[in-house]
């Protein structure tokens, strides 16, 4: 607010009458420059002096030069304060021009005594301490210099003061110059100094108002030709209705008035009235409109009508973004932030803590500088260590407008940490508090919150250096890990494992046979490759004595391990006695041959003897003892096949070489392969397995095992021999 000179002749009492109206206008419209302008009658330039000064306008519009500063030898008049005011100079009603009125205060300056830097610039005039000794009046020549965009002008005023009016320590008086004309919207620079100059010149800048003010609009003619607009709000959009005549050529300029400059949104040369629609979403508070006639150096009208529009502010916050930048320097990651917005914002950036599992971010009571958001500039956040739970919030008008947390791929996911604030009290007294949902809980505490429960432990961790320091300014931030205080449920995995093992055990117990069979099947399959599958084998032998029977039984069970379906009369005595040996053997032989099985003839001395008897070979010795009939029955079955020569492929002959040499076997039986056990066991087994199955290794393994298996029975047979009873 500019001061008014005390005594003043007003041609118009507008100010006094409209003072309360101005306040209302201010509240309602918020226009700049709410004071109304004084109206002066048009007259040539005049200067008036007050309070003991007398002056005369010596020269108007002369060429002035700024001379050098001269030292003061005698007391001189110097200007102390320069004030300017904008007035309207009217030739007639509604035909006014803007004018700048200058008020200059003067005082008497004594020469300085014992001044160390004589000849340098002297600051504000030191007033005399003693009374004024002179009798003569003091004179001075004051120059007022004006400069605006287009013109340059100087005025020389002669000022005289009578010695009786001088009072020490006060301004002698002031002069008022009416006035400097300047165009609307211009910026005027005014200097004032004496000639000769004794001190640095006073200067002042005066910005003349635009045509927007109603007084100018109504009174200044140059404003009439200027195009202007009216705003009409229609629902969602804002319409700019041009107040121009049909042929008027003008430029319309919409821009964002940002701190760094202007950002053009619309710049067009238009003719005649147009309706410009501004979308609601494009409204921002700093959207300003300038219009001027399409001539060179035209006066421009600019106005920012949306500065208090709530929709515009909402749009501004919708369009504002907080960008976090992580830069890695010498292995350390630093955080910088920038708020991108179209208009300057009055907001502040606050750090906040987001605990894991919560959506709310609690602002930290850290003393960050207020109003520290500078739009569109990168600012550095001096954090000692970056933590994923520390987020940034932009607060404006008492609530958070924007919140941004560090991205997961840079700092990782949210950690289950506890934030401790350390504030330094008065006498090196550090007090701690833990940030929780309900606020900052002071530690140690007896409350029932998680932080209070772990309070002592957390403080101990902090002392021992297990917490990470995040911030160190007037308060310190520490982040303590709660990992080791959380009850991790590893035991549930152990429980599941035990339960599974118990279930498997119970399952095995309940279904033992099935399991066993399956296990055996697995064992057989894996180890022996499953040499034969249920091939039928009929074992025929002559039961000479009990140990031989045992031997054959052992052989039969060994062959049974090979998955051969072994039939031997030892195991089917019941059937044998029921059917009779002949019938049984016939049936077995038929079954074996039908199923593609094999008939194994085990030869022993008794068998050979019987064969010889039957075949009536000459020179065969008589059998020493009557042989059992079972072999006779079996021989009666197999002999026809041998005699007719169709025995090959189905029959195999074997003998235990230690009991009977293979040569003793009658020639008739040599038409089929003859194997002497246990030396030719593998060949014997291979013959049993059948053609086309090349399980060499498994057959060999079987042969070895069979040899080992038969060994004890064979030895027993050899030892006991015929002494063992049948």
């Amino acid at each position: 607010m500019r001061e008014q000179p005390p005594a003043y002749t007003l041609t118009d009492n507008i100010q006094k009458m409209t003072a309360p109206w101005f306040l209302l206008f201010f509240v309602l419209g918020g226009w700049p420059w709410v004071l109304s302008l004084e109206k002066l009658k048009a007259s040539p330039d005049v200067v008036q002096c007050y309070q003991g000064l007398s002056c005369r306008l010596k020269e108007n519009d002369f060429l002035c030069l700024l001379g050098g500063i001269e030292p003061i030898k005698d007391p001189v008049l110097v200007p102390t304060k320069l004030q300017t005011e904008v007035v309207l100079q009217c030739r007639e009603e509604s035909n006014c021009d803007l004018c700048v009125r200058v008020t200059l205060y003067l005082t008497v300056q004594e020469p300085r005594k014992e001044d160390p830097d004589e000849g340098g610039l002297q600051e504000d005039a030191e007033l005399t301490s003693g009374p004024w000794p002179r009798n003569e009046s003091l004179e001075a020549e004051v120059i007022l210099s004006f400069k605006d965009f287009l013109s340059n002008r100087c005025v020389l005023v002669e000022v005289e003061v009578s010695p009786s009016m001088v009072q020490p320590g006060q301004n002698v008086g002031y002069l008022v110059f009416d006035c400097f004309r300047a165009p609307v919207g211009d910026e005027v620079w005014i200097w004032s100094y004496t000639q000769p100059r004794y001190q640095k010149e006073l200067n002042h800048t005066q910005q003349l108002p635009d045509c927007i003010k109603p007084e100018l609009w109504n009174n200044v003619q140059s404003c009439w030709v200027l195009p202007w607009f009216n705003i009409s709000a229609e629902g969602d959009a804002v319409q700019l209705v041009m107040d121009v005549s049909a042929e008027q050529n003008y430029v319309l300029f919409l821009y964002w008035n940002q701190t760094q400059g202007l950002s053009t949104r619309f710049h067009e040369v238009l003719t005649g009235p147009h309706n410009i629609t501004v979308n609601n979403t494009d409204l921002v508070p700093c959207l300003c409109i300038q219009m001027w006639p399409n001539v060179l150096d035209a006066i421009r009208n600019s106005h920012c009508p949306f500065q208090k529009d709530p929709r515009a502010h909402k749009n501004l916050w919708n369009q504002s973004k907080l960008n976090l930048t992580f830069s890695t320097l010498w292995g350390e990651t630093a955080l910088s932030w920038m708020v991108k917005a179209p208009c300057p914002l009055s907001a502040e950036m606050v750090l906040c803590w987001q605990p894991v599992g919560s959506e709310l971010c609690h602002p930290l009571p850290l003393p960050l500088p207020r109003e520290n958001v500078i739009v569109n500039t990168l600012q550095h956040l001096p954090m000692l260590t970056l933590h994923p739970n520390i987020c940034l919030q932009v607060w404006s008008r008492g609530k958070p407008q924007i919140q941004k947390c560090p991205p997961k791929d840079v700092l990782g996911p949210l950690r289950d940490d506890m934030l401790l604030l350390e504030t330094w009290g008065s006498v090196e007294n550090h007090s701690f508090c833990a940030m929780e949902i309900s606020g900052c809980t002071p530690l140690p505490s007896l409350a029932h919150t998680r932080a209070a429960f772990l309070g002592k432990q957390l403080l101990q961790d902090l002392q021992s250096g297990q917490c990470v320091q995040l911030w160190n300014a007037t308060g310190t931030l520490w982040a303590c890990s709660l990992q080791k205080y959380t009850h991790h449920r590893w035991v549930l995995a152990w429980l599941a494992f035990l339960a599974l093992a118990a279930c498997i055990l119970l399952l095995l117990l309940l279904n033992r046979d099935g399991m066993k069979g399956w296990l055996q099947f697995l064992k057989e399959d894996y180890r022996y490759g499953g040499a034969v599958r249920g091939r039928r084998a009929l074992l025929l032998y002559s039961p000479d004595h009990a140990s031989f029977e045992r031997l054959v039984g052992t052989l039969a069970s060994a062959l049974g391990q090979l998955q051969l379906s072994v039939a031997v009369d030892l195991w089917h005595r019941q059937e044998l006695s029921a059917l009779g040996p002949l019938a049984w053997f016939h049936a077995q032989r038929r079954q074996a041959l039908q199923e593609g099985g094999v008939v194994i003839l085990i030869f022993s001395p008794g068998a050979v003897a019987l064969c010889r008897e039957w075949l009536q070979e000459v020179g065969a010795p008589r059998p020493p003892a009557p042989t059992p009939d079972t072999f006779a029955a079996s021989l009666s079955c197999v002999l026809p096949d041998f005699l007719e020569g169709r025995a090959s492929g189905c029959y195999v002959v074997a003998c235990f070489e230690e009991l009977l040499p293979p040569e003793c076997i009658p020639d008739l039986f040599h038409s089929v392969p003859v194997f002497s056990l246990p030396s030719q066991t593998s060949a014997f087994l291979r013959a049993l397995v059948g053609p086309g199955k090349g399980h060499r290794d498994t057959v060999k393994a079987h042969a070895t095992r069979m040899g080992q298996y038969l060994q004890p029975a064979l030895e027993e047979c050899l030892q006991l021999g015929a002494s063992s009873s049948l």
Partner: protein, 208 residues
């Protein structure tokens, strides 16, 4: 009568020799009890086991271990947590293993695995459980934060220790009795075997 598939084992087992000797006389009587396939895979709940002291003690142990485990699981925060984890582990393992043993003894499933000495197994289980429950309860009592759940867990831990101790005592008694019985049994078996050697079954002549 046996077929080749019924033989178990390639090695010379007692069954095959008996089979061979049995081959000489196919009508040798067998003294094996035939398993009755009744119920679910031959299961029958032997409630008499549960009526006697060991069964009841086992049931009590299972219940107490489960309650102690549940009590300790309700705790969210711990400082330090090691005592808690140990107690958890002990109660969980005791619960499962004792539960399995209880199940096996009450359903008589332990007879299906004659290779394992079940008395020794039971003794070892109860002895170890007693010891570990005792240690875990003491450790938890020393480290607790006066939280309700922790105190409850300690109490149930000590109760379980007492029950396991009682069971150990009974099992030790049973084991001692078994040892005395075994020594007398072996004498009797030796005498029976020597008698059996003399009478060997004759081979029946089928065509006479």
């Amino acid at each position: 009568m046996r077929s080749g598939e019924e033989l178990d084992g390639f090695e010379g087992e007692a069954s095959s020799t008996s089979m061979i000797s049995g081959a000489s006389s196919p009508y040798q009587p067998t003294t094996e009890p035939v398993s009755q396939r009744r119920g679910l895979g031959g299961l029958r709940c032997h409630t008499d086991y549960l009526r006697r002291a060991p069964g009841r003690l086992k049931l009590a142990q299972v219940v107490l271990a489960l309650i102690a485990f549940i009590c300790i699981e309700t705790i969210m925060e711990c400082s330090p947590c090691e005592g808690l984890y140990f107690f958890e582990f002990v109660s969980c393992s005791a619960f499962v293993i004792t539960g399995v043993l209880l199940l096996m003894f009450s359903l008589n499933l332990h007879t299906r695995i004659p290779q394992i000495n079940w008395n020794i197994t039971d003794l070892v289980n109860t002895g170890l459980s007693t010891f570990f429950f005792f240690i875990a309860s003491i450790v938890l009592a020393a480290l607790n934060h006066k939280a309700g759940a922790e105190i409850a867990a300690v109490v149930f831990g000590f109760l379980a220790t007492a029950v396991y101790a009682a069971n150990t005592f009974l099992a030790v008694q049973k084991w001692r009795m078994n040892i005395r019985q075994q020594s007398t049994n072996e004498y009797i078996r030796a005498r029976t075997e020597s008698r059996e050697v003399d009478s060997r079954p004759e081979i029946q002549r089928l065509d006479t």
